[in-house]
Amino acid sequence: MSRTLGRPDLPDDTEQGPVPVLDVRGLTKEYKVGRLGRQKVVHALTSVDLTLERGQVLGLVGESGSGKTTFARTVTYLERPTAGEVILLGRSLPLRPTQRRLREQRSQVQMIFQDPYTSLDPLRTVRYTVSRPLRSLGEVPRRALHEAVEELLQMVGLVPPGEFLRRYPYQLSGGQRQRVGIARALAAHPALLLADEPTSMLDVSIRLTIMNLLLDLQRSQSLSLVFVTHDLAGASYMSDQIAIMYAGHLMEVGPASEVMGDPRHPYTQLLQQAAPDPGSDVGRADRFEARGDPPDLTVVPPGCPFAPRCPQARSECQEALPQWRQVGPSHRVRCVLYG
């Protein structure tokens, strides 16, 4: 059983071109916090529009509170969006899907979780964990399970697979656990993988091996990948496209080379300046200017959410949310500086 996982049996491409694997429109997510009478609304995601073509890697970059994790959780339907549309492989997902529809969706989009130390059931063996999606989503018969699990373990580099089948999470290192998590996600044969900061809890030397594994798998299995991270350099390494988020809003989207080489949005520029870069010149640290603190998500800003901290802010920035401006064939920025 060695067919590629990328689902070659996808919906036919239309005359307008190939169907994108993911098409998000106006995605919004709000949470209520606090007790009765003192309730506040957290605007975790506000009207996000994003498209991902098949076989591409999108790096979703943002700091904590930017909404990137919420994005991952709503696209994979761990949580229901408040508004907006999630269109997977041409089919829109209803706000309240049936169990069957949800299972279909789970076999198209899978999530790789951030913390390898809490995303595996400590009481279950590797074999059990990886075989669950095969049984629940893939309806693989019991006798074929063993071979299927071994094949998956092989794919993620846990060799010899027979040795890892019977192990419990506490017998695995962080990197190995994360590989099990990837194998589990692949077991569902998804077309799209959402990796929520898959390397931030791992040691530095292990991070690259996992990132490379994801890239290799993505290419060999024709998968699409959304790589959620706060690390701009990591996103740059992994991605074809980069999207920058701030306070629940998308700020800049474009090809990785363009966004990294010529960042347009002041926030993207700030992120670049703030990120460690040993190759840069010595006086760099002193040229950094940033003010203020991360935004309060319970307050809906009148205009651009970044305006209070933006070194290039103008008066019009606080008046209304800036429109999207196209600065390249597939590069757009939400900033008044480019209108």
């Binding site: 700091e63 292990i206 350099a233 990591g234 040993p278 190759g279």
Partner: protein
Amino acid sequence: MAELLEISGLTIGYGWKGRPMVTVVRDVDLALGAGEVLGVAGESGCGKTTLALAASGLLDPPGQVLSGSVRFQGKDVLSLSPKELRGLHLSEISMVFQASMNVLNPVMRIRDQFLDAMKYHGVSDRAEAEARAREMFDLVRIPQRFFGAYPHQLSGGMRQRAVIALALVLHPKVLFLDEPTTALDVVVQRSILQMLNDLRRQLDFGVMFITHDLSLLVEIADRVAIMYAGAVVEEAPARELYEKPRHPYTEALMKAFPPLGGERRRLEGIAGQPPDLRHLPSGCSFAPRCPKVIAGTCETIEPPVVEWSQGHRAVCHLCSQEEARVV
């Protein structure tokens, strides 16, 4: 330069009843001068946090110092009584550890925590204490209106700055920082580090900065020491370490950070895992994972300490004898 803090041959172990002692720090020599930033980098389990705890006199059982000394301005920190240590903390040696923002007493106003600390160390005049504390607030760029607030009323970044302010209010000579900004956003992190740099120039204290983020250290430290499996494997001026790493582990670690710009090239991590400290391999502890391992030598013989004239040393068999002087 007169050494402010001198760590010599420090060996630390963790011991529980009925189980053999595990050595987590092996024979470490490090020195910190006034106004200097010494970075200590390494991954989980390398011993850097234990080292910092012991050097600041905060190591508790089951950890214990097995041998070696930590001299602060000539005095051996490890032989001080608890009372003497308390007198030293905050006024001479200060520390800010990871997620320190939770170190602030949540039911006490920040102002009172400052005043308390200063009173204990002899600043009895309340007006003077308050003035110094407020000055500190300015230096760390927290708005004065938060002076009388409770910790939960400040954001994470501000709390961390408050903790740093508290650590510096008595103008200590040495500051230990252990992952002070890991839990914070990269933008906030950068502004805090910038602030620390300015303060260091103003108040002239030495900093031992411990982190796993080597790329950060290269930017902000004067000298960097790399630790692996409890021992220092390389130490050099930051710039020099970046341009000419001598130890294969340092080299591999440097390459493990994707660059921010430039063309996209495939990079490799380091295969395998850090060794189990209970069963350290003989010879060089990095040999099982080393891409440049010399078969027959590295796994059996302990590598020598090789020193270059620019204050650069590495513990490795590969380093040629002609360029260097074997210590």
